[in-house]
């Protein structure tokens, strides 16, 4: 099913046909019937521009800034922490300051990094809405914003983790973080065994988005990379 992605191409340069840079299909956009909410977006954008509140390039730049954020940023931070103990100490002490060291644009983000250990497994949720460390991970996945995850993970985190294929030993305490106010949370997963001597770049490939939310672990070197 061919889509016309002219608009995407204007905004972001060329892409593979039908797939975004992350390899997922685009939602249908300008080739389906115009919705009332699309009309509202166009109207608001035009009014804000006409009133001098925002400019078209500013809006486009913000779209591109958000598009450039992906779990790869968080993975770089995690891999650095795995390979640089002093950085890890700074990251756990003040996540935002440590990310700034790596020239990651954290804006007003108050980042709290929580470390998985042999005793504790961390998992993050926002039960009241869908707060998420978007500067480090990009926009949240749909399930993070949906009722099932938000309702259940505070009550039955182990059952939820099991749905993601994560089974924890009995002697590990699960620590749930409900992002109710101004902090945002990033899980620092445990470094997989069998990675001694790996570079930070190579290690970062083992760190997926879900591991930094805490619903999975970092990928073991013997596990196949996700498609």
């Amino acid at each position: 099913m061919p889509h016309d992605h002219d608009d995407h191409d204007h905004a972001h340069g060329h892409h593979h046909h039908g797939l975004s840079p992350s390899g997922h299909p685009y939602r249908p956009d300008d080739d389906t019937a115009l919705s009332r909410f699309q009309v509202m977006e166009i109207a608001l954008r035009e009014l804000l521009i006409e009133k001098g509140i925002a400019t078209a390039p500013e809006i486009m730049a913000q779209v591109e800034r958000m598009d450039a954020r992906s779990p790869a940023l968080g993975a770089r931070v995690v891999a650095r922490a795995w390979t640089d103990p002093a950085f890890k100490a700074r990251l756990l002490a003040d996540g935002s300051a440590a990310c700034r060291e790596m020239s990651i644009e954290v804006d007003a983000l108050k980042l709290v990094v929580v470390e998985n250990t042999p005793q504790v497994h961390n998992v993050v949720v926002c039960t009241l809405c869908s707060c998420y460390p978007r500067n480090l991970l990009g926009l949240p996945p749909d399930w993070y914003k949906a009722r099932a995850y938000r309702s259940r993970v505070v009550r039955e985190p182990r059952a939820v983790l099991a749905e993601f294929g994560t089974h924890l030993p009995d002697d590990v305490r699960v620590q749930v973080h409900d992002s109710t106010a101004d902090m945002r949370y990033l899980v620092l997963p445990a470094r997989p065994a069998g990675t001694d001597g790996w570079s930070a770049e190579r290690l970062a490939e083992l760190v997926g988005r879900d591991a930094m939310i805490g619903v999975t672990l970092a990928r073991a070197p013997e596990e196949p990379a996700p498609a």
């Binding site: 756990l92 002490a93 182990r158 699960v174 106010a181």
Partner: protein, 116 residues
Amino acid sequence: MTAPLPEVVPTGFPPPYPTAGGRFRPGQAVRVRHGMALGHLRTPFYLRGRVGRIERICGDFQNPEELAYNHRNGMALTLYRVRFTMAEIWGETAERPADTLDAEIFEHWLEPSDAA
């Protein structure tokens, strides 16, 4: 029956946010107030009336209950991260009583608790 309150595990690092000011100290037992409000607030219902311990002081922030209505000149309030056991929150139906949950709660939603 509820499990004992978790001791706050020191991270071994200085707390990331200022610890001056504020009524409560890390490790202190606090109870989340019951509240009755249909406006915007950030204290989840499932924690109201529950006792936990201050895990850390996050700093001072504007009150979301005011910001939501565009009142911007209120006093900043101290925000805490409070740790609860699943047993305290869910009682006998807890999936694993000794598992824990942290949430950020503003000072005006907390009161001292006698829990040891």
